[in-house]
């Protein structure tokens, strides 16, 4: 039998997610919501409904990922002619004009990162639900990376913002944001919330129940 790890949960304590104060659980107040005595944040032993919430957000983001990639993100109007561009056609434009570093930036940030993020979160959710004990340290690291890189997907939204501002020359040339931009922004924001709602401590909880 392995020794039980000295975690906050096993010691009947809760670590405040906001100020990291270790709080003893006051059992006389169980049932009411517990408040951190230092910073006033609500205390949770684990993020509430972490798996359900993360699943819901991952599924929502996966659904929005489709129109985000199929619908145009920008529409260029020049002398009455309109040309719509999706994320992928933007990448292809950069490759065809020889600017492959920029093509790579957009491809990684807008297509690869959101997809990998959704796949990673799905993988983490499934392994936690199956109470897997497989390489918890590496899965925690995977989670940490997923949480950190998500913001960079916003780059395409900012490109659209700058393009619509700069290319606003009336008849000569005007760029408008397309519906794809809205869906894409939704994907980015929802995946950020999904990563936030996943609790990496669940990875270790599953391992502990197996060790006991």
């Amino acid at each position: 039998m392995k020794s039980i790890p000295f975690t906050a949960r096993n010691a009947s304590q809760i670590s405040c997610h906001s100020c990291h104060l270790l709080c003893r659980i006051n059992f006389s107040k169980i049932g009411k919501s517990l408040i951190c005595p230092r910073c006033g944040a609500t205390l949770h032993q684990r993020k509430p409904n972490s798996l359900k919430r993360t699943w819901a957000l991952v599924l929502a983001a996966a659904i929005f990922y489709i129109p985000a990639n199929l619908l145009p993100v920008t529409v260029v109007i020049s002398f009455g002619k309109a040309q719509a561009d999706t994320i992928m056609s933007g990448v292809i434009y950069f490759i065809s004009s020889g600017m492959w570093p920029i093509a790579l930036v957009i491809f990684v940030a807008s297509i690869l990162v959101p997809m990998l993020k959704l796949m990673t979160l799905t993988f983490l959710l499934i392994t936690v639900q199956r109470k897997s004990a497989w390489r918890p340290k590496d899965r925690t690291r995977l989670y940490r990376i997923t949480e950190a890189v998500g913001r960079w997907s916003m780059v395409d939204i900012y490109v659209v913002t700058i393009l619509v501002a700069l290319v606003n020359l009336g008849n000569l040339a005007t760029i408008k944001a397309g519906p794809g931009a809205g869906f894409f922004a939704a994907v980015v924001v929802i995946t950020i919330f999904a990563a936030m709602s996943f609790d990496p401590r669940l990875i270790w909880d599953a391992k502990e129940t197996l060790d006991e």
Binding site: L22, C39, M99, M154, V155, I162, L163, V164
Partner: protein, 200 residues
């Protein structure tokens, strides 16, 4: 008795030990960072936030970029794109960009000054805890460095069709990114909470 801290990624409890200069304490089980040693944390963060506020005003007030095409010159500010998106019926998108590139950094800077300036003189400002918590949670939503990459991509994209001239605001904006990142790095939230708790 030493204070205890639980790893926020795997929940394992550790004893808080003083660290050498620039030292980092990692969780022995999952490897995530528990806490770091930061010297002059409060003073440094305060100085950087003040510098950040000045740069913020410049970045938002001065011309950001200009586009020259045939005989037309079109000058924009940081906020122009947000306004255009709003008029193009993309209100939600406009609000998201406003929040991530202007509001979140501004509230972060003001909040840090509000919390740290009195604390440095051993005073506690009203509503300290909720405001400091807000400042900490805004870090995720402040995305100026990503916006900077967006500027780079847009300029390259438009280079063949028009001439793009950077304005002074772009340099202030770049400075603001560096300063705000440095402020976040030098901030030691554990020390701030401890200091506040002793004064309360």
């Amino acid at each position: 008795m030493d204070a205890l801290i639980a790893c926020h990624e795997c929940d394992l409890i550790h004893r808080v030990k003083p660290l050498p200069k620039k030292g980092v304490a990692n969780c022995i089980r999952c490897g995530s960072v528990l806490y770091r040693h930061k010297s002059n944390s409060l003073e440094r963060t305060l100085a950087l936030s003040l510098a950040g506020l000045v740069l913020f005003v410049l970045a938002n007030w001065l011309p950001f970029l200009s586009l020259k095409m045939e005989a037309q010159v079109h000058q924009i500010n940081l906020v122009t794109g947000i306004k255009v998106l709003y008029t193009q019926d993309m209100q939600a998108l406009a609000i998201l960009v406003l929040l991530t590139t202007i509001l979140a950094p501004l509230v972060q800077l003001l909040g840090l000054l509000y919390v740290l300036l009195p604390l440095r003189h051993d005073r506690v400002p009203p509503k300290f805890a909720p405001i400091f918590r807000l400042v900490r949670s805004l870090e995720t939503w402040s995305m100026m460095e990503v916006f900077m990459l967006g500027i780079l991509v847009s300029v390259v994209k438009l280079a063949k069709m028009a001439q793009i001239v950077p304005g002074i605001a772009i340099f202030s904006f770049f400075g603001l990114i560096v300063v705000l990142a440095a402020a976040n790095v030098s901030l030691d939230p554990h020390e701030i909470w401890d200091r506040w708790e002793k004064l309360r």
